[in-house]
């Protein structure tokens, strides 16, 4: 089965049912399907071929969801990027995956224009919104590029399902995530990987076509992306919001649209718990809340149960490389609130010690290993990093995923997160590579040394904190450093604070060590 068949099946079964709600726009499943078919035909006509990568840079919107399915229907691979991405990183990714097309919105043109004109592999650019400026810009800078307006590509023309060549072991998506080396890496997921993950998740969430999901999570983040995929699978409705900037407006929308499912990350629950007014409101339609990315503190769980007494709360854990690992059945939340549960349906999990022996004693920490059809095929063109994460499994043909996360398992098989093996920071539910932030800091001429760590934060989960040593006599301020970071990093990677140091702690070989920094922070 191919991922776009979720949409095709739902469109023929429930053509007039509301599929997407975003701002003032409401689309039915047959309207989404028709636009995706047209877009696929337009991409093919513009030279996008079987297996080509197509990058999408847009806010959460119906166009983003239509693009995902349209790209698949063109036998191509979709790559959805964070809407706050900066020019350098966009250029890196277009180049890294040798994208053949870019789909964006005129509102993103200040970021997208330059990289679009200079990416050597690009054949076509589709622009939603006001196309006048992008058109003039590309005509001058890169006249050979085919430029299409969203209207021409998706709103007009033949809307029948285009012929297809892809099979389910073909690549469906690259999801770029932060790597320990600093450069983002593309997680390779096939149609089968994604169909399998979506099927497991919708099974344990017991999704039905009456479900209405409200998502404020970016579609570039796998947790946000799967809300759209899952809604297409079970024929529900997806209400999309661009952000959680105005929590009360989101709550209002939730009531108005009679939302039944609300995926959150701990940062959002921290913000919800600050709204006193919520305790006076009732949410009779809300059936479930899900949380992933980082464990919910017990105080959040209790607070959420108070605000949403009728909703089941699912505590979950996962990583992009296999989408989701585990979930805690809501009725277990009272007895084991700190657990992230057991492996999801059609998946096995176990722990191994440092010598790769399977741990059978309960409560002994070890690295979590995941087996299942949801496990990625590797990192795009990074064989060494792939080999570290994907290793031989029980059968000669299979690879299992070494997550790099240390867990404990109790006697009944429930998982408890211990720590990560590397220094990746999780802020606002997204992974931040300290190396990537440090590289941005080192580009500031006055910074001699930099070290970035995660510190506990009530709202963000972990906040990004930078320690820097300045050149002698430098007058660089914290504000100037943060402003630089805002121009060069996606929002969630920008440090919250900067601390100036005379020097950074070093190992005997002279390498900067963050151990001392971590301890100092715990005291502070």
């Amino acid at each position: 089965m191919l991922l776009q068949e979720f949409l095709e099946n739902t469109s023929s079964r429930l053509p007039e049912k509301t599929a997407l709600v975003a701002g003032r726009s409401r689309l039915t499943w047959s309207q989404v399907e028709a636009r995706a078919n047209r877009l696929a035909r337009a991409l093919t006509a513009a030279g996008v071929g079987y297996g080509d990568r197509v990058v999408v840079l847009m806010d959460n919107s119906p166009e983003t969801v239509i693009s995902i399915f349209g790209i698949l229907k063109a036998d191509a691979v979709f790559v959805v990027l964070n809407p706050t991405i900066k020019t350098d990183k966009l250029a890196y990714i277009l180049d890294n995956c040798r994208a053949s097309a870019l789909i964006t919105h005129s509102g993103k043109w200040t970021t997208a224009g330059g990289p679009a004109a200079s990416a050597g592999s690009l054949r076509a650019v589709v622009v939603a919104g006001d196309t006048e400026e992008p058109e003039a810009f590309l005509r001058e800078k890169s006249p050979s590029l085919i430029m299409l307006s969203w209207n021409d590509a998706a709103e007009n023309g033949d809307d029948s399902i285009p012929p297809r060549r892809a099979i389910d072991i073909d690549l469906a998506s690259l999801i770029y995530t932060s790597g320990t080396t600093g450069n983002p890496k593309g997680v390779m997921l096939t149609h089968r990987n994604m169909v399998s993950a979506s099927t497991s998740i919708t099974t344990y969430l017991e999704n039905v076509e009456d479900d209405i999901i409200l998502s404020v999570l970016p579609l570039s983040f796998d947790y946000g992306l799967y809300q759209a995929i899952m809604a297409a699978q079970f024929g529900g409705t997806l209400v999309l919001e661009k952000s959680f900037l105005f929590p009360f407006a989101v709550i209002d929308l939730m009531k108005k649209e009679r939302v039944t499912g609300f995926p959150i990350v701990p940062t959002m629950s921290a913000m919800l718990l600050q709204i006193e007014k919520l305790r006076e409101m009732s949410f009779p339609d809300l059936r479930y809340l899900t949380n992933t990315a980082a464990a919910l503190p017990v105080s959040h769980i209790l607070g959420l149960q108070e605000i949403f007494p009728d909703a089941a709360i699912y505590s979950m854990y996962g990583l992009t490389e296999c989408k989701r690992v585990s979930y805690l059945p809501p009725f277990e939340l009272g007895t084991r609130p700190t657990s992230v549960g057991k492996g999801m349906p059609n998946e096995q999990v176990y722990l191994v010690d440092e010598d790769d022996n399977v741990i059978t004693d309960p409560d002994t920490p070890g690295e979590l290993v995941v087996r299942g059809a949801n496990v990625m095929k590797g990192y795009w063109e990074l064989p060494e990093e792939t080999a570290r994460m994907l290793r031989p499994g029980p059968y000669p043909w299979e690879k299992v995923l070494y997550t790099g996360d240390l867990f404990k398992m109790d006697a009944e098989g429930y998982l408890y997160f211990v720590s990560r093996k590397d220094d990746i920071i999780k802020s606002r539910g997204e992974k931040v590579s300290p190396k990537e932030v440090e590289s941005a800091l080192y580009e500031i001429p006055d910074i001699v040394e930099a070290a970035v760590v995660g510190v506990e934060d009530g709202i963000l989960g972990q906040a990004v904190k930078a320690f820097v040593v300045l050149k002698e006599g430098s007058t660089l301020t914290e504000k100037e450093i943060l402003a630089w970071c805002m121009r060069h990093l996606e929002d969630f990677m920008v440090p919250k604070t900067v601390e100036f140091m005379d020097s950074l702690p070093k190992t005997s070989s002279g390498k900067i060590t963050k151990k001392g920094l971590g301890q100092e922070m715990k005291k502070g």
Binding site: D252, K277, M486
Partner: protein, 80 residues
């Protein structure tokens, strides 16, 4: 009022990183000017600076999504 709010956003939330001054009707949401932690800073700023109290249910795009809207809301609060 508009300029006070603009200066605060440009200097304390965007820390001088913006290439152009923000226009009165630029949507914070549409243009990605402020993120969810920035909005809380902005609430604290108008509460302190103009001695008003922002109720939870008032933190909505109609009141807070641009400099113009925020100034109008703040003036309404001061007046009321």
């Amino acid at each position: 009022m508009n300029d006070k709010i603009r200066t605060y956003i440009m200097e304390n939330i965007l820390l001088g990183s913006a290439d152009h001054p923000i226009a009165d009707d630029d949507s914070f949401l549409e243009k990605g000017i402020i993120d969810s932690t920035g909005i809380l800073e902005l609430v604290a700023f108008v509460e302190d600076e103009f001695a008003i109290e922002v109720e939870d249910e008032e933190l909505i795009p109609d009141n807070f999504d641009s400099i113009g809207k925020l100034a109008a809301y703040t003036e309404m609060k001061i007046g009321g």
